[in-house]
């Protein structure tokens, strides 16, 4: 999995049937100290993530294993909202803190 920051939402009316009802977010992969990479992805959100939150994204065929996404054509799924990141002995991120 990778860490990412939610940068925006994707509005899409015409989408494949199996994606209907799912929220798509534009996310930017970040390093453990939250340095942004230039790697943006469109990801299916199954946990209710919102803008500026740090999330955990699963990629590839594993993305379909999220609880609600077994029949959804996705290769990037948000599976968690990060509360705290501890890295190299230091707290690098604390939600709302």
């Amino acid at each position: 999995m990778e860490l990412a920051k939610v940068e925006g939402t994707i509005v899409s009316t015409a989408k494949t049937n199996r994606l209907k009802g799912y929220k798509l977010l534009l996310i930017n992969l970040v390093e453990p100290d939250l340095t942004p990479t230039k790697n943006f992805l469109v990801a299916v959100d199954s946990v209710g993530a919102g803008k500026d939150e740090i999330v955990i994204v699963v990629r590839g065929s594993s993305a379909r294993q999220a609880a609600e996404l077994s029949k959804v054509p996705t290769d990037a799924s948000i599976v968690g909202i990060v509360d705290t990141i501890e890295h190299l002995g230091k707290t690098k991120y604390q939600k709302n803190g």
Partner: protein, 89 residues
Amino acid sequence: MKLAKVTGKIWATIKDKKLEGIKLYIIQPMDEKLNAIGNEVVALDTVGSLENDIVYWVGGGEATLAIKGRQVPSDVSIVGLVDRVDLRE
């Protein structure tokens, strides 16, 4: 599978229900001489890893099979702790 060092830990209260009760760590992939290679990633733990442990992990679709009896939404799963690496020079 590949080698890595555990460099950090992630806490997430809100997560996919298939990940409930599972620990997530940050790992730095490493080569055979334990030099860092590539970017750090978030890994699901199945073996009770601790920070600074050297581990081996499975990536891609196979990572979903790391926990017996169910499939988990993971593309990086720690599946073993390394006690020692013997390498002929």
